[in-house]
Symmetry: C2
Subunit: 325 residues, 2 copies
């Protein structure tokens, strides 16, 4: 298996990505295409005495997508940026997956355009366990799909169910809709419409879940639109930090404060993961990740490749749509 | 001033509401109409030797709206329920405000129908400081208005600005839109449309605020639709509880855990408040409130009456709409 690694992406660039690549190929069961500006990547490879490593290949690119670039527009101005060369390698069959710690928006755009999306899904979406107190609860979507319709949100339920099974080992994950009340008469039009679609499906839909219950792990898959999911992710982090500061000051207990931080910091809990709903493998990670975080992301790409994560999503989605129509 | 008090509302009913009424009238500057089933209210009044209290009057009602009733439908089946008798007293000019700890949905429905809403507002809305770490940050709407348009959300900005000035003493409150990014290109259609309306207004609009910054008090008024606001309220409570349990177990520090609870429990921080956007005074409180909580709610009704809170909202909203058109 060949992984195209965006060597320029992330806060630290080649210094970190090249180290991570060396770590990942040490097992001998995958090869890596290091995609980046040659003058940035080659010196770091030389430092590691790895210019001629048999499992590493440098593929030149030109420039990098910045967080300030508009993901939807940047391909026109920077078509040779590292992330687009990565997805291009997969398109040409020269790699089986790409991994990037760079702009999440650009990764989603690249994967969506290059791989195409699954039926009923209009854009790759993001999910993962982001509240440390509920380590088996995958929340989807975390911010990729902002204005959506019930059909799409129900689709996230199927993708999340597959994610929970394949990546988190849950046999029959409970699927819940994030809502402002437990009754099915409550909620916005999106939630009510989605509940109708899920009720008749073969998914293990257990109804509404209120935010009170998110940290209690009452469902393994929780779905919401990307606006709400991103609010949940960022409020968890912000409130966690406010409380850990409180504990640091009033309790004088730094170890406990650190524990609270790690339970509410999405990077610590879930450094990144595979995009869902696209017909190919793209693993996006947090920009701040260090070498071990990048190496974990590369291993995730290999794991989802070996376990046919993409095929499992397609199959489940097809079954859901056949049942719904 | 006469306050119509829903004596049946709340988890504790007349036992608590009658005590609170006695406490509130002890100042001598307001009278209370105790609205409730006579056989429930009179014995409690008798216990307190207050059957002939000159500032208390019992107004009979029949039944009470339960949390399980559908707020939009319950008026047909229980037209003589205490909350509707309360709003009716205000409508007839026999009281100047109503106060209820009962079903929030029924209070909103009663106030919306009886008082009518202000221009551009379709339903009474709820706001208040719900994160203890940011005691001067009013968040609106907390759950009354689920599916809304930019014009309405911008209206909440004007109402919140008045609330922050009148109730929380902020001279020139900063107004921010809750969003998933700080850039104005990010967000859903609702947020983007609202930003356009606010940018040209005379309000002190400071742009987007991300949930990270909610506990840091970076704005005095934060607006969002009622779905998102209710998610924020309930996640704050649920996550706060998960963390305080963590502190109780690992830190063994019960006092600190209690402090965390009180900073994240919306009842403790903000037991209730006046409905915004309706042409009259309605104060809704938390069902679990004890006598002092109910008494505070009654005093809030008097405060907003004395300070012409309703008139101030109407004036600000008219100015906003004149400027926007």
């Amino acid at each position: 298996m060949v992984v195209a690694l965006d060597a320029m992406g992330g806060d630290h660039g080649p210094e970190v990505t090249v180290s991570a690549a060396l770590e990942a190929v040490s097992s001998g069961d995958l090869a890596i295409a290091l995609v980046g500006d040659s003058e940035a990547v080659m010196p770091v490879l030389a430092e590691h005495d790895a210019v001629d490593h048999p499992l590493l290949q440098v593929v030149p690119s030109d420039g990098v997508v910045e967080e300030t670039d508009n993901p939807a527009m940047v391909f026109r101005s920077k078509p040779r940026a590292s992330i687009f060369v990565c997805s291009g390698l997969v398109k040409m069959g020269k790699a089986h997956a790409f991994v990037s710690m760079g702009s999440t928006g650009a990764s989603i755009a690249a994967a969506t355009v290059t791989y195409g999306t699954m039926e009923g899904i209009s854009r790759g979406c993001l999910g993962g366990p982001i509240i440390g107190y509920a380590p088996n609860t995958v929340i989807i979507d975390l911010g990729a799909n902002i204005d959506i319709r019930p059909q799409q949100l129900a689709g996230f339920g199927t993708l999340g169910t597959v994610m929970s099974r394949v990546l988190y080992g849950q046999e029959n994950p409970r699927l819940a809709l994030l809502n402002v009340g437990s009754e099915e008469t409550k909620g916005n039009e999106l939630v009510k419409g989605t509940a109708e679609l899920l009720r008749d499906s073969s998914l293990n839909f257990v109804g509404m879940i209120e935010p009170y219950d998110l940290p209690l792990g009452k469902a393994e898959v929780v779905i919401c639109d990307g606006f709400v999911g991103n609010i949940v992710l960022k409020l968890t982090e912000g409130l966690g930090q406010a409380i850990s500061n409180h504990v640091r000051k009033k309790g004088g207990n730094d170890a406990l404060a650190d524990e609270i931080d790690s339970m509410t910091n999405s990077l610590a809990i879930h450094g990144g993961g595979p995009l869902l709903g696209v017909n190919g493998i793209a693993v996006v990670g947090h920009g701040a990740a260090g070498a071990s975080g990048v190496s974990t992301a590369i291993n995730t790409a290999k794991f989802v490749y070996d376990n046919d994560f993409v095929g499992a999503q397609q199959k489940e989605l097809t079954a859901f749509l056949a049942n719904a129509s």
